[in-house]
Subunit: 350 residues, 2 copies
DNA sequence: TGTTAGCACTCACTCAATTGGAGTGCTAAT
DNA sequence: ATTAGCACTCCAATTGAGTGAGTGCTAACA
């Protein structure tokens, strides 16, 4: 693992520097390291090594005659080592969720919340993208003379509804027929597969009541397609005030803005779904982040799956000196639970 | 309107002080006022008057030999005058909402957003409280063998749904009977009226299938009752960084926490629904606020109605030196539009 | 040749003293 | 009743000395 440019001692020192900095948030000096570590070396020797490490770009000095802090490259090295090594104990998390499957929305809100509580960082969770998700159930019902309620249930019990205004009341028979039509034709299909052609075909089959039904069908299609892009739940955004390096007015304001404007967060999450590595866990450090306002942060994301195809994402945003071990642990465990939960949900529906 | 303790000149000076402070956010001195206003008085005279105003409690000095800033009492005086006088022009707002009635949720989110944009303060909007709201439509449908979807529509097209897990599949006939039972008994009732007694009665009527149906009924009741307390939409929380007196780390963190933890916001809003005055607009200044973390802020709330009984609330939170005129204008206009919109909605459903 | 001790140097940070300016309160004159 | 003038107060910004943590370099050492 160790690059050729780093001998074992340098690695040890680098690790010591980073570990220490993660704890304190202060630049760490040569004397500290010389006492802190088991390799008995004087501060002077450490200084020489640190000088080398700085030349190699793993650590930087905020100013002359200050201690060193890890550079992005340094963090990256640390994280790579960490994730490769560590893969054993999975922290036990609360089991509350198992019972609360009924509503995807509240489940995800809870996930975001507990994760934020556990880690003390800001978290975000995106709802499973509906695009490659299967339709399970469609139903239209007349609420009153001029309004029809359409309810759509997707795999994973994601429920969507929409009220459709109609000119003339639909009689019971038509209603029944429509429901039949929709369910037999749409059930089990993914949103991808429900395209214009299919809709047109349905319209034709609907036959006589063409006008009204066309309108209804359009709206149903809309219901299924729309709005699933904004589903991001965040929590613990204010945790960033706990880290002085992020808490100054300007940075905090920008960051919180980004969190409030969930749109841009989507980019972050969708970005990470594409280039997932084997573990499904992604770490962005500083400038590596796709969002510029987060260039002073680190971001850890994981994607969880539901049935086939990649779906939703969990993310944690914190200072660069975040406790990567703990975070990766937490997020990994959570991802596992979500995967299991949703899979079992899917199985049950078979 | 002018209290006996304030002669006309004092009122003018007080107004000048407050207006100036609203703009600058800096303590305002006697010389500024002497030049700023049309009443030609020397700074010395102003000083005397200011001294009086301070004794009367309308303004305070942050420290000796600084200018004066309005006290809560001063703001209160200003606001009272303002709201009484001003009632003419209602600023024209975007008309986008008219078309978007279908989904209460997105409507309210939009309201919060535009309001935040227009005023540059933090806003919160609570969904119409369902408590005194009428049930319009209930429906159970079998999604698959073990899951039943219950959909409840309330007045104002608030849709709630919940998935109920059942042991044994329910056959079509039972389903139909259940739906009938629910709709005939519950339609038109308010949540208040759906109490334990009624539920028990329903269970009895359900008869044979007692066990399963009891479970379903319980869940439906739960669906109706639950969760409507958390429906608060916020926007523009980060606007507080625009006002230095709120932007320091500690205060900002507390405030944003309060905004994230929507629960406590509910108190604020529900509080204001109770003691609405004639216009339905409430202004809390500083310590008057029911939430302690907001004691450095002012809060303007308005309640909008839907049919009979008080329902939802719109609120704005900003610094004490907020632009009350503009805010009250905005909020009043918005309240009017919401009232109208929801009323017309209600009418159409008659 | 790698390691260490020692020393001079740098730089941020703290604290106190200094200064300038904005603003007040009071008094005496109009 | 109003105003001009002056002494006074207090904040805010500036300066400068002192401190300490940390570095880089050199020379000695094993």
């Amino acid at each position: 693992m160790a690059d050729t440019e780093l001998d074992e001692r340098k690695v040890k020192i680098l690790n010591a520097i980073i570990k220490n900095y993660l704890e304190t948030g202060e630049p760490v000096g040569s004397r500290t390291i010389s006492k802190y570590t088991d390799l008995n070396l004087s501060s002077a020797t450490i200084r020489n090594e640190m000088s080398d490490l700085e030349d190699l770009g793993y650590i930087v000095q905020p100013h002359t005659s200050a201690g060193r802090i890890p550079s992005d490259k340094g963090y990256r090295f640390y994280v790579n080592n960490l994730i490769a090594e560590k893969d054993k104990e999975v922290s036990d998390m609360q089991e509350w969720m198992i019972e609360k499957t009924e509503k995807m929305e509240s489940l995800l809100k809870n996930v975001a919340k507990t994760l934020a509580n556990n880690t003390q960082y800001a978290t975000l969770v995106s709802a499973p993208s509906v695009v490659s998700n299967k339709l399970k159930f469609v139903q239209l019902s007349a609420v009153d003379e001029h309004q029809v309620l359409s309810v759509v249930v997707m795999d994973g019990n994601i429920v969507k509804n929409k009220i459709i205004n109609v000119e003339k009341p639909l009689d019971n028979e038509t209603m029944l027929k429509l429901n039949m039509l929709l369910n037999t034709n749409l059930n089990g299909l993914t949103v991808d597969q429900i395209n214009l052609a299919l809709i047109t075909k349905l319209k034709e089959q609907a036959g006589i009541h063409d006008e009204i039904i066309a309108q209804v069908l359009d709206t149903v299609a809309e219901t299924i397609t729309e709005g699933d892009d904004l589903q991001v739940y965040t929590s613990g955004a204010t945790n960033i005030f706990k880290y002085p390096e992020l808490a100054d007015s300007k940075k905090a304001s920008e960051l919180l803005d980004t969190f409030e404007e969930k749109q841009s967060l989507m980019e972050l999450l969708s970005d990470s779904t594409s280039e997932g590595d084997n573990t499904g866990i992604q770490v962005y450090i500083g400038d590596e982040s796709p969002i510029s306002t987060m260039k002073d942060c680190s971001i850890v994301t994981a994607t969880y799956e539901l049935g086939d195809g990649v779906k939703g994402t969990i993310g944690i945003v914190g200072p660069k000196r975040m406790d990567y071990e703990n975070v990766v642990d937490n997020i990994k465990s959570l991802k596992g639970q979500l995967d299991k939960l949703l899979k079992q949900e899917a199985d049950r529906n078979k």
